[in-house]
Amino acid sequence: MIDLDNRLIKKSENNHRVKSPTQTGFSSPATHYSEPRIDLNEVLVTNSSSTFFIRVADDEFKEHNVLTNDVLIVDKSLAPKLNLLVLATVDDSFKIVRIDQNATEVLNIWGVITFVIKSVL
């Protein structure tokens, strides 16, 4: 229940402003070129309030290159369009479906899959 979010966010690294030089000798020639480091949260999660992470428990979905222990990033806010990969419910269980032109069955779509995280360790 205790909301620690506010304390977690470390703003300084995500600052787009030019930083004042920190060098004690020659000021860095890069002063005006520094940028915030890449933050995967910004890249992979566009709508955080509608994005969910879902783990895959077996190889049932390997036709979509989704294997055991992969984590799907699913955005419920996106409209399902042709050729998109979606998470749908069929008979009370989850399926991964690619929306195709000839789809005959009416899909109960849970959300649109935007990325698949794979660990290759």
């Binding site: 229940m1 309030s49 969910f52 992470f53 428990a57 077996d58 049932e60 269980s93």
Partner: protein, 422 residues
Amino acid sequence: MIALVDCNSFYASCEQVFRPDLINRPVVVLSNNDGCIIAANKEAKALTDIPMFQPIFKIRKLLDANNVTYFSSNYTLYSDMSRRVMDTLMTFSPRVEEYSIDESWVDLACLKIDNYNTIAHTIKNTVHKNTGISVGVGVAKTKSLSKLANKYAKKIPKNNNVYVVDSEQKRQHLLLQLQVKDIWGIGKKHAIRLQNNGIHTALDFANMPVAWVRKEMTVIGERLWRELNNIPCLNLETEPNAKKGIGTAKSFGFKLTDYSLIEEACSYYVAEVADLLRQQQSLASQIEISLQTNQHSAVDRQYRNSIGIQLDTPTDSTVKLTKEALKGLRQIFRPGYRYKKVGVNLTQLVHQKEVQTNLFHNPHKSESSTITNVIDTLNGKFGKNKIKVASVGNRSKEWALIKEHRSPRYTTQWGELMTIGK
């Protein structure tokens, strides 16, 4: 215009988002410690022979017989889902008042729209699409009317969970359809008194002379009366008021006789409330500790006591508060009882900046606030209670709440994600 957006059976809905197999099936959620049912969805409420607020052990068989799925409360999940709903509402209007975990007012006056029906449906559909939570939307010119509109939206299936009071005719219709007891802010006592005076519907109340209302129900009743007559009296509050007291009292998972375990639980709760205290930038001048046995047990000897400790100077330091709390606990603890519950209550709160210091003490800003800051930062980064006062100990399994049927914390724990396949 103001929209009141209210989630339908919120706790059960949160569970169902991640369990599509439970859609259209009865679901109930149990209180902390799996004591009794605190929330039920529409399907579960329809099973009239299931008594609400009954201890679970008494009705478990009944639930199983009716195929009711039950969950321990998963407040971590509900809190995150609530955040998602609120954030979605913020995309419609910059002015949102979060009234409770599942209810918000959205100010639509600042939007340039003329069709409130369309926007109300859009809000409902967007929240459902983005979060999986279904909501009802009541739109009206005042807070009290929008609250009634919301109630009516859900009451009549034809309304499809949306009701907009955008004409005098619809206002009259709404007030005629609802009873005085449905009016937000009218308690049971007032409702009975009004009914005894022949005032039954909300419209009867709204049509009374204002002087009569003021005389019978003071200025508070008059404010309600005005609100129902389309005159806004209650403003949207977008900044939460600081709490005047912060407390917690939770039952142990087991009855405890061992003082050292009760001490651990007590220290843990002190840390929790002290954290909330700091988040609202207050200091506590008094801490109250209470301890009790199980009042419902016929076989146990009963004991309950509480103690209030006045602090020299107001503080927000977990270390100081724990020290004082345990001093108090030691005074009220009597050996030989089976204890059920310990409570911690911080009272006489003052804002950090408005503190009166004691002539003989250093100002409250001392070395302890530096330590507290470091602890908060570390816990913020690595997780709740990673750094703790030693008296919290590590035997929480021996006293913590029982949450046997809690669902995974799908959205906040990487190790508890929803899984698909198999």
